[in-house]
């Protein structure tokens, strides 16, 4: 049976929809103005000379420069290094936090989240104080006789990585901890009653059930790490140059808007590639549930 819709009522329904849609307009407008338009502008700028004429010269110049490729490599090294460290440090911490009573865990989480509530510049400053040649850690190392000479811990790749891991770890921890908290304790009791050892329980019950959390945490880490600017700029001491600091230097020091834009587009492309890879990976994770052992 087909029903003839009353045109006046249908018009009212559309009007109501338009009203609700209009409530989004201020927010959409500001995002369009201050996020989408600027990104489109970067694309436009990448095809312009200083005089404002159309050119592909910016691309030729940037893509043929060795600095660009080393920036790309540094970006990947920093991002993947940060991700690896977050997984290695964050997963056990999440497991420990998820294994205590919620009240205790909440208090501990508040401390873990303290860095999230502190300005990134405060934290960067803290790391400078800790990692410098005459900093706290080197003082402790040489003072105790563990090393004869102070170690180069900052203004290099190591220092940048430490700073970035410190920034990303709480962000990684949140979804992983939430996923582990959600695991029904009866599942672990059941596995134990069937004779699983602690190691087996972690490998066959806890980790598979928190894979979703680890995956979301990893996405968050990669999204933030790829374009990270403040930490490399300060803790890298000019020697560690991922795409982000190259963009800044090209724009501020060399006033080369075109090349800076091309570097920005490289960053966008990298984000898109990683996005595609993550989508593919999620499909794999979704399919790859624990299989029964083959006979």
């Amino acid at each position: 049976m087909t029903v003839v819709r009353d045109p006046a009522l249908a018009a009212d329904a559309r009007r109501e929809r338009r009203f609700f849609l209009s409530l989004s307009l201020p927010a959409l407008f500001i995002v369009g103005l201050a996020a989408i338009l600027p990104i489109l502008w970067i694309i436009r700028q990448s095809f312009l000379t200083t005089a404002g004429e159309y050119t592909v010269g910016n691309y030729q110049k940037v893509l043929s420069s060795g600095l660009t490729w080393s920036a790309l490599v540094t970006t990947l090294e920093l991002s993947l290094g940060t991700l690896a460290a977050c997984i290695l440090l964050g997963t056990p911490l999440a497991l420990a936090l998820a294994s205590v009573r919620p009240r205790v865990a909440n208090v501990l989480m508040a401390f873990v989240m303290l860095p999230l509530w502190t300005s990134i510049l405060v934290r960067t400053y803290g790391w400078l104080v800790l990692l410098r040649r005459d900093g706290l850690i080197n003082a402790a190392l040489t003072g105790s006789g563990l090393t004869a000479e102070p170690l180069p811990l900052v203004y290099n790749f190591t220092g940048t990585l430490i700073g970035m891991v410190h920034y990303m770890l709480p962000l990684f921890l949140l979804p992983v901890y939430a996923a582990m908290r959600d695991i029904d304790p009866n599942l672990i009791r059941a596995a134990a009653s069937m004779g699983a050892t602690l190691r087996q329980v972690i490998r066959t019950v806890i980790l598979p059930l928190s894979a979703g959390g680890i995956f979301s945490g990893s996405i968050i880490v990669l999204i933030y790490a790829i374009g990270f600017f403040i930490t490399p700029a300060v803790l890298g001491g000019g020697k560690v140059n991922p795409l982000s600091t190259r963009i800044e230097r090209t724009l501020s020091t060399f006033q080369d808007w075109g090349s800076a834009s091309v570097l920005g587009i490289l960053l966008l492309v990298l984000m898109a590639l990683i996005g595609v890879m993550l989508l593919a990976a999620r499909r794999l994770v979704a399919q790859n549930t624990v299989e029964a052992p083959h006979a």
Binding site: R5, A8, L9
Partner: protein, 345 residues
């Protein structure tokens, strides 16, 4: 002649391929208490929300008196609504909740306050005006919701399963009070429930709904005794639908060719109590259960069909001695045997 308060004309509403309201038409008299009764998903709440203005029909017409309200927004309809979860505003106290519709209508503060207090007294909540909504019991919240819905003197009140959250005793008290309030104020009321007892107790008329259609609309007694469809018969209580030919006429006349509806409590085990005019059902006793005020017997007819027989404890002298497997006969008077028009068992 009574005037019409609400007219619903061929209202249709579909969500995708799911038809929530299928060509529903209904006339409600001014001052009437009408119940929409049906299982969940039958369309009764959708119909109520269409009247309130929260569901937009695909087609059809809604009239309040002779005013077309089909396209009127909810805030212009002047209809009082009591929601299932009451929807009291937790950031306002009792008085502010009840005065809210008056404030919206720009009634002066002092007058609004007085009217709200009077209405609170009417629902027996005097003295609780300054109380926080969160501090009220379920029954008190129910009364605040009622007061808020009638304080601005709407011509129509809609109630969406308002008593479903209350426990049994409180529910019965409130059924009585809502009805009393209605008799006093004479506000045309449409009441939605899935509880057939509640519908029978409270209503002037009941509209039984199923899969988006009104199955029957009638007085409670006629709905119960003379259901027009098998669905209505079964929804309204322990009904036995007896296939043509299964029942024997006591006077020996030709057995009925129609599908019969006999309620479980209409049976007697003693033929004398029925007299000459009635039907008899013969079968084997399958199970019996004592339910306090009555016995429930399950009888398997010779055709294999099972029939429920309910005998009041006061009249069930021999029930305790009956044993499963024994052959027996149940009798029903002709006045309690109803042929369902057009039904096939």
């Amino acid at each position: 002649m009574k005037s019409l308060a609400i007219t619903i004309e061929s209202v249709h509403k579909a969500y995708g391929s799911y038809v929530a309201l299928d060509d529903v038409s209904l006339d409600i008299q001014a001052g009437e208490f009408l119940t929409l009764l049906g299982p969940s998903g039958s369309g009764k709440t959708t119909l109520l929300m269409a009247l309130a203005g929260f569901v937009r029909p695909d087609s059809g017409k809604l009239l309040l008196g002779d005013r077309d309200i089909t396209r009127l927004p909810p805030n212009k309809r002047d209809i009082g609504i009591v929601f299932q979860n009451y929807a009291l505003f937790p950031h306002m106290n009792v008085l502010a909740n009840v005065a809210y519709p008056l404030v919206l209508r720009k009634i002066p503060r002092a007058e609004a306050r007085q009217r709200a207090l009077d209405t609170l007294a009417r629902v027996k909540l005097d003295g609780l005006a300054e109380r926080n909504v969160a501090a009220l019991s379920g029954g008190q919240r129910q009364r605040v919701a009622l007061a808020r819905a009638i304080v601005f003197e709407p011509r129509v009140m809609l109630m969406d399963e308002p008593l479903s959250a209350l426990d049994k005793n409180l529910r019965e008290t409130m059924q009585y009070e809502i009805r009393r309030l209605h008799d006093h104020l004479r506000i045309t009321t449409i009441y939605v429930t899935h509880d057939q007892r509640e519908a029978l107790i409270m209503s002037d008329r009941i509209a039984v709904m199923n899969s988006g259609r009104i199955q029957q609309i009638d007085t409670p007694q006629r709905i119960y005794d003379r259901p027009s469809t098998r669905f209505v018969a079964e929804f309204m209580g322990e009904a036995n639908i007896v296939a043509p030919g299964s029942a024997r006429r006591i006077d020996g006349a030709e057995p009925s060719r129609e599908t019969l509806m006999i309620r479980a409590e209409s049976f007697h085990l003693d033929a004398k109590l029925v007299g000459g005019n009635g039907v008899a059902l013969e079968g084997i006793l399958r199970a019996k259960a004592f339910r306090g005020e009555n016995w429930l017997l399950t009888l398997a007819l010779d055709g294999g069909q099972e029939v429920l027989v309910c005998i009041p404890a006061a009249l069930a002298g021999g029930c305790a001695e009956l044993a499963a497997g024994q052959r027996m006969t149940a009798y029903a008077p002709a006045a309690k045997v109803h042929a369902i028009p057009g039904a096939t068992a």
